[in-house]
Symmetry: D2
């Protein structure tokens, strides 16, 4: 039932954890159960998968250059974002008007790996040598098959330098049980003058 097969097994595994709908075959008096609801456990797995994927793109850029990084980023967008469902509400950390919002997959791919003349300000956020992603959720809102999180995300690069962002995600569990990002708002913390 998983539509997008990734070359990178670790991403696949992260997705698989959330991929199987809750179906229990009948036995004696136990009912068969269909459950489309998303759980906190699934949300946390999807958050971790996002961090792992970002590091993976950075690693692939280092080992295989832009072509390899772009292939991985494309697979990540197919597997972990909801562009197949419709527009994604994506405000990346470093975008500027008039291309602030990346509601299409093309815009998201350009943001992560750059090299797209249609998005001339994008230098490739995922190519910055990220090695570690830590996520601290302040609050979670679960409503049916969608769940939103808000919190701090700390990205650490190969030099040990870290960047903290304020991040909001909304995940939607699709019909196949895959948890997808349908909303993503990332911003640098406000700095008082």
């Amino acid at each position: 039932m998983i539509k997008h097969v990734l070359a990178n097994s670790f991403i696949l595994c992260a997705s698989l954890a959330a991929a199987v709908p809750s179906l229990a075959q009948a036995q004696s008096t136990e009912p068969r159960v269909y459950n489309s609801n998303i759980t906190l456990v699934e949300v946390r797995a999807a958050q971790k998968a996002w961090g792992d994927a970002l590091v993976k793109i950075s690693d692939d850029f280092q080992s295989g250059g832009l072509a390899k990084a772009k292939t991985t980023a494309n697979a990540v967008l197919d597997a972990a974002y909801g562009y197949n469902l419709g527009p994604v509400l994506f405000k990346p950390t470093l975008t500027v008007a008039p291309q602030t919002f990346r509601t299409t997959k093309e815009g998201a791919l350009a943001y992560f790996v750059g090299g797209d003349t249609n998005f001339p300000n994008d230098s490739g956020f995922a190519l910055k040598g990220w090695k570690k992603v830590d996520i601290v959720n302040a609050a979670v809102h679960i409503n049916g098959d969608v769940a939103s999180t808000m919190g701090k995300v700390v990205l650490t690069d190969a030099k040990g330098q870290s960047t903290t962002v304020d991040k909001t995600w909304t995940f939607k569990k699709d019909d196949s049980g895959v948890v997808r990002i349908v909303l993503h708002h990332s911003s640098l913390p406000y700095t008082p003058n």
Copy 2:
């Protein structure tokens, strides 16, 4: 936040079990969580509460007559059905056209305890001396804050005689965390000629 206080403590307790939303106060790195989703455990508790309530109405009819039974039935409808939210899709076991469906609380109350000249065919289903209710679910469908069940329900009266019905329920967990019946289709099993 529970709007309907029942005189009958056992019904109140049954409702309370499902009444508290999943809110967890923040602690160190643990996020605060809002979760409106209904769970299989809550569904089963609501089913059991329905059975207990039916028996309670029967018992109250025996001990206190129609007035007492009607008071209890009224409280059950307020606490366990969703007439406060809007029309309820209710097809009781024994109703006939043109009053087959009881989308209003008045129609449901008439079905359970009778004595309403606006529903002349109702003799009071809950007054039939029910002592025990057994529920065997065939399947359950959980979708956000609503969940549907389908299965057999066996009602046993004081004489030990049982009636089996095919029953479908849909429950909705409201903003206060109370699980309410918003759909109820009950029918006698088909008897081939």
Copy 3:
């Protein structure tokens, strides 16, 4: 995105009416919109499609025998029921214990066209020469991507004889925008002794 292509164009058309998700491309200041919610219009279209499909199976049985009817019924189950999503809560009008509930596609197909030794009591409900289906909803409950209806359905056969059933459906709009039956409780009206 429609996974199940039917040979019968009229069924396909009925499904197509509900098949396209609400996506509107951005224009100047108009936002792109994703909307997974089901509407009353979609529910009514799905109800009509169910009636049309029942008549189609009957017609195909008459013109092409059991093989043709079975092919059509199989396509209807793939296109209009949610067995691909998980168990369906299906209590057909004329089934008896211990096979009252048909939570699998095999059980549903047996009910509609018979001829399955695993379901020896099924004679094929859809083969009874149905020519017309009229649906009168008493109430509708819409909640996200699922909607339930309850009401009277009148089936009329080639001889002009009609059968009325009390029917409850729950429809779920899937990720592709296809509206599927995930719950179906049908029963003959209660007849007082």
Copy 4:
């Protein structure tokens, strides 16, 4: 059924527009309909109400000082935010760690009007003389009773100076039909060095 009555009639009216659930009384063959889904029209009304409320707090501060502004802000939070339902995922534009996120009503009130020693960095965002709020949505995601928007919001003050923010909101329509903000992420646009 509206729990929070505001002194300011214009806010009340804005809320009322979204407050009545979709209930239609049965007539002849028209079914009674319960519909908990949120619509794009309701979302836009709630966005406009938020802008109107911000201007109202600013105006009340000018005409009646902090006490009047605080009373209005308190009423706005009760009427238009979902703190009564649970934690709200609120990242205001100008907050800093360790008080970046305002998951409680107290934290939100402090942000809007300041004067709370528990939130010493808050100077009162709503007191800055705002006169006009323009909202341009990039995309909207509707899922059951919740809907998210992402876009630009332009705030203009009494001097005609404007501030643009990138803003994400999630609204939830509650059981009474009131549309409430349950998620709010606001950030200043990224400025490249």
